[in-house]
């Protein structure tokens, strides 16, 4: 695994940006791909994190504090060493229709891969809608990103509510976020799924989803799927 030293962190309550300096270059990371991040000792299991940004051995992750590993990342001092392998998963660009422009719909930490997508393929982005519940999140984002934030606490509206105003069939939808949000998107949307993973490379069969073509693994076959492919009741 590649040594990843925590070199910068910006935290607002349960969300944070974490920048790691890697000892080796990742091999051609693309938007939608993820890395498996592991602590030195506990917890022993590596967990998947979508790439928020990557350049010259500097990897940025956007993380929500949910469990033991993310808790450790939040509380670690600068200089703490973690371990990383990847990138894994099929890049979004290999799955989507490149003739269209996309509305990027993010929910919570699901904005991470969408940000990397908009950095790498700005010409394919029509609009960004990044949804969060509470307004404290604004302090984490730069000025130019503020207008993309949809804060339920401020407007009483979610990204799915706002989508109605901007959506027409000429645009595609590329979404990553909580399952209830993804389920409420129009058919034809591309949805990027989250799952508990063991290996990240398709061998351990932990991150199974059911699709029209049978069982697929989120890590190797995804994380991006067409919304109608997925049998949501199984998730």
């Amino acid at each position: 695994m590649i040594e990843a030293e925590l070199v910068e962190k910006r935290i607002a309550r349960d969300y944070g940006f974490f920048r790691f300096k890697l000892h080796e270059e990742l091999e051609k990371p693309d938007a939608g791909q993820f890395v498996m991040l592991k602590a030195l000792d506990e917890p022993i299991l590596a967990k998947p994190f979508s790439i928020y940004s990557y350049k010259n051995k500097k990897l940025t992750l956007f993380i929500k504090r949910v469990g033991r590993l993310t808790g450790k990342v939040f509380s670690s001092p600068i200089g703490e060493v973690f371990y990383i392998r990847g990138p894994y998963g099929v890049p979004y660009i290999e799955k989507i229709n490149k003739e269209k422009k996309y509305i990027l719909i993010g929910g919570g930490s699901g904005i991470a891969p969408l940000n990397f997508f908009s950095e790498l393929y700005p010409e394919l982005v029509y609009k960004k809608l990044y949804g969060f519940r509470e307004k404290y999140i604004r302090e984490l984002f730069e000025k130019e990103e503020q207008s993309n934030l949809v804060i339920e606490e401020e407007s009483g509206k979610t990204v799915v509510d706002l989508l109605v105003n901007v959506y027409s069939e000429e645009f595609g939808i590329l979404a990553c976020g909580p399952t209830p949000m993804l389920k409420n998107l129009p058919s034809g949307s591309y949805v990027s799924l989250e799952a508990v993973m063991g290996c990240g490379i398709g061998t351990c069969k932990s991150c199974a989803i059911k699709t029209k073509e049978g069982i697929k693994m989120v890590c190797k076959d995804g994380p991006l799927f067409k919304k109608e492919e997925v049998q949501w009741e199984w998730i």
């Binding site: 799952a195 398709g202 061998t203 932990s206 049978g214």
Partner: protein, 306 residues
């Protein structure tokens, strides 16, 4: 001088004692992009059942202190698909291949044994008698009589070496091990995951969709190690030690306790390179101790130690 890591058991020469245990290595095809499988002694393929199985609904995996709990549920394409599409490609995997089967009835064990017997690339057959993750399925290895019946059914169908994969969480593993050998097992894998669960205190519900799963990882190592020690002390049968081996030190403990071969699963899932790190560690330990052959340390804890 180099250290000889090879192990001869079951009429097979393993280039070293490390086996990728059944489960997270799959059939090896995906894994070999991330690990040079030719460097390990053998791979035990993912367990095959008579009919295809989707496996359990997610979540199938959760971490816990010192380990992970899984309930994959034997997701596999079934024996027919295995014979048609996977078996013909097995020569791409450049190490010893051990097949793994799980029957739901005596008849199924027999059929699965017959079908596996046809595959030339497969040098031995492991009977998964102990997977805890199939709803409504009995755990054969928790009952001596069932263990014997399953082994006898496979014994009738093949001349390949048979390895019985036993459950560590039984009252008297030595007794079950003896019955397994009497029924025709040529070797034993000890053990498997141990039934376990976690509850989400926010929802008040089990985390895993199956409710319970099997615990693996460092937490179970001392438990399984004791079983390997007991069985190898009582019986003269090759044992593959499997349970929480994360480091070369863990692997050496198992070898000294009596395991002639060492299975790795959870460590492989966490880091596909870990088998190579473990092998390097074993080799340099032996070199430092001026031991020329790995075979010399197998079961040394039953003798006088160093």
């Amino acid at each position: 001088m180099g250290v000889d890591l090879s192990v001869k058991r079951l009429g097979i020469k393993f280039k070293n004692p490390l086996i990728l245990a059944s489960g997270p290595a799959g059939f090896g095809f995906e894994l070999q992009q991330y690990l040079d499988i030719s460097k390990v002694g053998a791979i035990t393929l993912k367990t095959i059942t008579l009919n295809p199985r989707e496996g359990n609904a997610p979540p199938r995996l959760i971490d816990t202190h010192g380990g992970i709990i899984n309930s994959i549920g034997l997701q596999n394409p079934g024996i027919k698909e295995f014979l048609d599409t996977i078996a013909p490609r097995l020569k791409e995997i450049k190490t010893i291949k051990i097949g793994s089967i799980a029957g739901f009835s005596i008849e199924e064990w027999n059929i699965l044994g017959e079908e596996m017997d046809k595959i030339k690339e497969i040098k031995a057959i492991e009977l998964d008698l102990s997977c805890p993750n199939v709803k409504g399925k009995k755990i054969w290895a928790k009952d001596e009589k069932l263990t014997q019946e399953a082994i006898k059914a496979v014994r009738k169908s093949t001349n390949k070496p048979i390895i019985a994969k036993l459950a560590p969480d039984v009252t008297d593993i030595v007794k079950i091990a003896k019955e397994a050998v009497e029924a025709g097992a040529d070797a034993l894998s000890i053990g498997n995951t141990i039934e376990a669960m976690r509850i989400n205190i926010e929802t008040g519900l089990p985390v895993l969709k199956l409710k319970t799963g099997g615990l693996s990882g460092p937490a179970i190592k001392p438990i399984t190690l004791a079983r390997v020690f007991k069985v190898t002390g009582a019986l003269d049968v090759p044992v593959i030690g499997i349970g929480g081996i994360m480091t070369w030190e863990d692997a050496l403990e198992y070898a000294m306790a009596g395991a002639s071969l060492i299975g790795i699963a959870t460590a492989l899932m966490i880091n596909p390179q870990s088998p190579l790190e473990i092998l390097e560690g074993i080799e340099s330990f032996l070199r430092q101790k001026r031991i020329e052959r790995f075979e010399e340390i197998i079961g040394i804890s039953h003798r006088s130690g160093f």
